[in-house]
Amino acid sequence: MPGEPAWTLSATCRCLTEDLGLAPEACDRPIVDLVGAHQVIADFVERRSAHPIGTETIQALLPTLVAYSLHSGRYRAATWHHEAAGIVWLLAARWHEQGSADDSYPYFEQLLRNGRLLPTRADVERVVDQRRPTFARALSDDVPCLRQRAIAHPGQIEEDVIGGRVCVRVAFENGASGILYVAITRRLLPGALPLPAEWDIQLLAAFFPGVPLEDIEYIDEIAGYNLRTDEVAYCGLIAQSQV
């Protein structure tokens, strides 16, 4: 797939405020904007941008969670590659003092036991909200470009990752009336979550301006070619004025 994005970095609000002492307002900002606020965040962004996992798993959190230790000076942080969602989380951080009851690793374990280590719904909502405008912008910018490319090259399949989230293939058949085919991969990027149907609907609305939803049809091919195993395709007539 062209330009498939890798993963998003984020932190739980509990970690930012309780462990790193940031103000609650910091939770609403993308983590990359906070690198100057704490060395742990700077190290997290630098290292987990390059690689989503570390080399040292935190044994105390197994088997519930495969989290990795991030060393940042005397701090130890717990990071988790949430593969399904395409997110690497900074879950917790604490001063490391081996043998002390106040050490980082027993602290991480206690957080997990108390149900306070993993991301909350509010944490997830923040990540989704930070990603969302990118997709909305792509509906208005990327989709018309991809559509135009397909119309300009009848019979040829054009492919792109819309807003970095959804892989789409588009083709146009210029017969007596033009038919536009849109094949949507049923996987939300980054990660491996199934694509919610609402996303199909918004993509179709962008690909078929002025066409009622009732006039769009399912089809099991794209311009005469087989679909990929994880694609669903739609087609609709395009008015000559839009070609």
Partner: protein
């Protein structure tokens, strides 16, 4: 590579998309996905039609904020999907 295809109208009352898709069942993974999606679309046709219209109108008027607002249901669906993958 070419295939013979029969288009299936999504919301046609008199042409059951599910009936046609059921005939295709077990032939390929894509067709099973197709069927599940069709069922979802039919069962949620009202809100999805609203989302479709709202998105088209927001795009036509170039109203970006309206476009983001229109996608609230898509946003909630994504949050639900992510929450379901967090270990408890």
């Amino acid at each position: 590579m070419a295939t013979k295809s029969k288009p299936v109208r999504i919301f046609a009352d008199d042409d059951s998309a599910l009936d046609v898709l059921a005939q295709l069942r077990r032939q390929s993974r894509a067709q099973v996905i197709h069927e599940a999606l069709a069922e979802y679309l039919v069962n949620h046709r009202k809100e999805l039609s609203r989302l479709y219209s709202e998105t088209q109108q927001a795009l036509a008027s170039g109203d970006f904020e309206r476009l983001v607002r229109a996608s609230a249901s898509a946003r909630d669906a994504e949050v639900d999907a992510i929450m379901a993958t967090i270990p408890s």
